[in-house]
């Protein structure tokens, strides 16, 4: 008998019929001999409905009262699922973040979990009850309600699994696992059976939006095995776990992509120490996040400096950079928001040379020009013209032997 934390997202509890189906799945897991703790999101669309009420009152709504409002979404679903479980003859008990208690810091709207008291949940389990826990919320040390930000329910589930020393944490969603590439782009994409935490972090941050990055970091830190499963289709899903030897044999776990970035270049920058911080300082002050950064040695004594930002920040970043260019007496600013980032990810590449050249060759063969390159221990990313995104992802998926039927 093992202890399993099951997390169901907004589409999985999207209406009354789906909530009934979740209740049946929870009961089936219990009947298979496991202990189950459930963590729930709000009904799909409910958080957006509450947000629009808030913005009707105050277009800048944020902070403490927004959390009081948004936390009601999960409180509704835990009550409804508990009723459904009890109507089907199982004992259940719902818990808000305050009731557990899930202690967070006081950063409203994006709080971080500090500590979880597992006593009440353990007591409910011992009394034969199924604990049904509101995700996404907690309280700070003054008893104020906090929320963890979008996708925070994944983090609640993983943190609960850690606090309860659960055997596995199952994340039920509307896809049946993590894929080697986006199936909408690569028809032959395969479900990954097993993936290492680090790989999943790279895949998630690069655009495979199955899991919140923070929940994977949490799982990695406490060594919780995470499994991504579909609420609607039976199947083993994808196990996200600590790296083991067998994983090193798989060179590339998958191909990730990202279409949300734009690149900016400042040319003719004097090649003197401290230049990078003079360029990026004003960008950071405007709360714009920078992803890839590349500095090329140019002719004479000047250099050019290129970086990428989120497309939404492109215009703002460009204006700031134009001011900087004048201040530094640089050669001007260029930008392009028609770019895409493609990455190959895999813990296996650490021990194998030649992945980069294999990647560049596959892209060259399709006539795709590489604009930027950035590498880490377990991934290589390139920036290409937006129009080559699908072609590039498919070419790499084939080149690294990931296509269905290849093995």
């Amino acid at each position: 008998m093992s202890l399993i934390v099951q997390k169901y997202g907004g589409t999985s509890v999207g209406d009354i019929d789906r909530i009934q189906a979740v209740a049946e799945r929870v009961i089936a897991t219990r009947n298979a001999g496991h202990s189950v703790v459930v963590v729930l999101s709000a009904i799909g669309g409910e958080t957006d409905r509450l947000l629009s009420l808030a913005y009707d009152i105050d277009p800048k709504a944020a902070g403490r009262e927004l959390d009081v409002l948004l936390s009601t979404g999960e409180q509704v679903t835990i009550a409804l699922l508990s009723m459904a479980l009890e109507a089907k003859g199982s004992l259940a008990q719902s818990f808000t973040g305050a009731q557990i208690t899930i202690h967070t810091d006081n950063s409203h709207n994006k709080a971080r979990i500090m500590k979880i008291d597992a006593e009440r949940v353990n007591a409910a389990l011992e009394a034969g009850r199924i604990p049904v826990i509101a995700g996404f919320q907690g309280i700070d040390e003054d008893g104020n309600i906090t929320t963890l930000g979008r996708g925070g329910t994944d983090t609640t589930a993983v943190a609960m699994a850690a606090a309860l020393k659960a055997d596995e944490c199952h994340i039920y969603t509307d896809v049946d696992g993590v894929y080697t590439a986006d199936p909408r782009i690569v028809e032959k994409a395969r479900r990954i059976e097993r993936i290492a935490y680090e790989e999943m972090l790279e895949m998630a941050s690069l655009g495979s939006k199955v899991l919140q990055i923070r929940s994977v970091e949490f799982a990695s830190k406490y060594n919780i095995s995470l499994r991504v499963l579909s609420s609607f289709v039976e199947g083993p899903g994808t196990l996200i776990t600590a790296e083991d030897e067998s994983m090193e044999e798989v060179l590339i776990a998958g191909i990730a992509h990202n279409r949300d970035e734009a690149k900016l270049t400042i040319r003719g920058v004097p090649d003197t120490p401290g230049m990078a911080s003079k360029i990026l300082g004003p960008i950071a002050e405007a709360n714009i996040e920078v992803d890839m950064i590349i500095q090329n040695i140019g002719d004479d004594d000047s250099t050019s400096f290129t970086f990428t930002v989120h497309r939404n920040d492109y215009d703002k970043a460009k204006s700031i950079l134009e001011l900087t260019s004048k201040d530094l007496n640089a050669g001007g600013v260029e930008g392009d928001d028609n770019i895409a980032k493609i990455s190959v990810v895999g813990v296996g590449m650490r021990s194998h040379a030649g992945i980069a050249s294999q990647m560049f060759a596959a892209l060259a063969e399709e006539g795709i020009n590489i604009q930027m390159i950035s590498t880490s221990e377990i991934k290589i990313s390139v920036v290409v013209d937006d129009k080559y995104l699908e072609l590039g992802v498919r070419a790499l998926h084939s080149a690294f032997g990931l296509d269905q039927g290849d093995n």
Copy 2:
């Protein structure tokens, strides 16, 4: 400067515009030099929406989880009003029942308030913040969320006023006060300036559904002055307060009526001790509440016994009574659900004889036959044929000099 608790019901916070209007009224009260504590209901219709979700899951939904669900309704409004107040430049702070803390017993769906900790609300007031409190909810000693039942927000407001030693408790609703009779029946009905707690209790329980009975009992117990006001129209409303000498001069405060009852008679009951409990015992066991009870001495050694129940319970009560009639060898059962109850209410009648005969004469003059009579220290009720309800109420309103323009 006085401390005022303001309670706004579901129609007063029915949409975003009305919530903004409530915020303006609260700020205006502050600007007039008062301290304000706000107690809120859920947005009108929200509690019913949540109930229908629950009944879709389980038609018998009740207990702990229903309270977790329903309590979200008020949590939404306190957050929205606090945002509205802050957007208009006032400091506010919302409180759920658990945050205050409002301690209740553990009778889910109809809990009673045991104790209120006023510290956090007082601290908010001292910090210059407007406390915005969720009505209708509390927690039991194990930290479970409880609700007070329909209309419980009035009770929360009065209990908060008592705990804070407030000067007045203002109940904002969709009517501008308590009337001498239902204005839909009596065109010349007048708003009552001042009414004693006891009179209000009789008026409310007899059908003038402006305030929850429990909140009036609470106000009476702690001597809190209650004022019923309209959210939509300016005006002094009706003050509900302890009886004083000036009130005794007013013989009759108002005419109440009730169309929700039905009467049942069992005839030919042996006139021996213990008969009443043999007749009403099975009715009480079926959880049917009995209102008026009359026993007439009949011919020979038998008697007839008549009582009224809610119309919804009429069929059930009749079947039970027919069984009892057979058991007791009585003379059979008669019933009538086409009845109405009309009552005259007033603390002044205690010291004045003749009210009853004046009442009966006024009804006789209109040819209205009286079927049952029941009296208390401050009210006289009669049961008449349903079709005479409007005529009877109007006749009594005139007879006791309550018509507008009479004074």
